[in-house]
Symmetry: C2
Subunit: 306 residues, 2 copies
């Protein structure tokens, strides 16, 4: 048995999880010419894609029954486990040599469990989390980090190219998720630095806009500083990426690190500050809201600063 | 009394502190056509500039006697205080309307002390720390962050342009130093993130070079990641910027923050990890050596990893 080649117009794709990210990514695949069957827990979020010609299924298993390759983009690891390995999950119906691709940011251990379960059914699995947020998804500029076997990774090239700009194979099952954890460790610490720097600038009486001109383009520069500091200064806490999802990601990274006997004190601190942000009722804001937890720590409200 | 205009070939400049940074910056001013009198505690480090035509003085006061404007680029705040306000310091001999410019990264409080002392002698002072490291100094691509009064800042335009690429006036005396603290707060947290991310990548069995391809150009990207992660992976700990100077900078920022009633837990953690690095005898390595303190924390030697 060999892998079927993946051809727009012939290969049938499935998509589970049509939230902000999933919707854009799925739409790119459809525009490339793939026939698509979709499922989402809340049907309201499927309408746009149905309008574009997607078939709506009533369970993940039904998606699998109609598809050669099934993509998953849901919220939390327990959702991933449910839609792939649960009672009405993808693996109950996926055909032999079918491929399931989990693009949710989830646990490397779970990716390995799925890999073994897929193998047992003569199927393939890849873990392929992404970085780049809602904008990256919309503009098909995602970084896609892939773990699993190289053959299905290569076979899916037309799909990766429809959704992403940087596509890297990272190694065995779980390696895509591990790479995403590296990404989140970087962002977590960058966010603490960005918010502490903005607090210091404010409290020392500097003009933060002039300060950004001095620090953005040099050795202190980062994507976070260029893209999120202006939102912090404008009290714009609309979610590009939800606090509660970031807390989940950092929790996974800390648990994995503990398992590998690795202490990550900076990540642990960032995680706790974000947990505090949730405790203050801000779990559905964007990650740049961290400044509010840090301001509260020093006894003031960032939004009401003078 | 008004400020003299600053003209290459006519205005006489002084330079105190001809280490790695100072030497390059001073040489740029000389190439622009300024006559230069220099001083350094260790004479060996002045030879190259003397070869280019600089006059050597035997005290900071003697530099001031020969100069309309004196630049200072030394190591620590106590050195700054000594060469500007000490017994044989710049302010004992600087002429009325002369300007002293401290480009050392130093305390905002000290910058304000110097400003007042200069005023009392009818002189001007500016605090003008820089970012960009030895390479930025060499290539005249520094970011220069200036505090003090706007008039001497504007007057010195030909000098800034000879040394830097991004030159910003940030406000009253001390504001240049405060802005540099913002810069260092960003870098400190970025460095923790970078090192923790590289440790996680290593311990989870990923190929760090492939990982960098996935994470560098997206939302986790930063100057530190692009420039220092490759050195970390190559066990290259040669100093672009000394650990001991970074510890000094973070100490100043934490002390200033405490004075402003501002808690900066991320900076405090980074500071402590760098203090640990000094305790392990690595204060004269580059800041990227932080990975060794973090690896030691988890019980292994980064340089002897397999």
């Amino acid at each position: 048995m060999t892998l079927p080649s993946i051809v727009p117009g012939r290969t049938k794709l499935g998509w589970i999880g049509t939230g902000v990210m999933g919707k854009s990514m799925c739409a790119h695949l459809m525009r490339t010419g793939f026939a698509m069957t979709i499922y989402n827990r809340s049907h309201a979020k499927t309408q746009e894609l149905v309008g574009l010609g997607a078939k709506l299924a009533s369970t993940p298993a039904e998606v699998a029954q109609q598809s050669d390759v099934v993509f998953v983009m849901v919220g939390f690891p327990h959702d991933v486990r449910q839609v792939i390995m649960g009672e009405d999950g993808v693996l109950t119906k996926l055909r032999s040599q079918g491929i399931v691709v989990d693009m949710t940011t989830s646990s490397p251990q779970l990716a390995q469990d799925i890999f073994r379960a897929a193998k047992a059914k003569n199927c393939h699995s890849l873990d392929a989390p992404v970085s780049g947020g809602d904008i990256g998804a919309k503009e098909a500029r995602l970084s896609i980090m892939v773990g699993g076997e190289r053959e299905p990774f290569e076979a899916l090239k037309p799909c990766w190219e429809a959704m992403g700009k940087t596509v890297q194979f990272q190694g065995a099952a779980g390696s895509g998720q591990h790479t995403k954890m590296v990404n989140q460790i970087l962002i977590a610490n960058n966010m603490v630095g960005l918010c502490e720097a903005m607090l210091y600038a404010y409290r020392s009486g500097l003009d933060p806009v002039e300060v950004l001109k001095s620090v953005s383009s040099g050795a202190a520069g980062s994507w976070s500083l260029s893209n999120l500091a202006p939102r912090v200064l404008n009290n714009d806490f609309a979610p590009g990426f939800y606090v509660e999802h970031f807390v989940k990601d950092m929790g996974i990274a800390l648990e994995e690190a503990r398992r590998m006997n690795l202490a990550l004190p900076g990540l642990a601190l960032a995680h706790q500050l974000y947990v505090a942000l949730c405790a203050q009722g801000m779990s559905r804001l964007g990650t740049q809201a961290l400044i509010q937890a840090l301001a509260t720590l020093s006894g003031f409200d960032w939004r009401n600063r003078t």
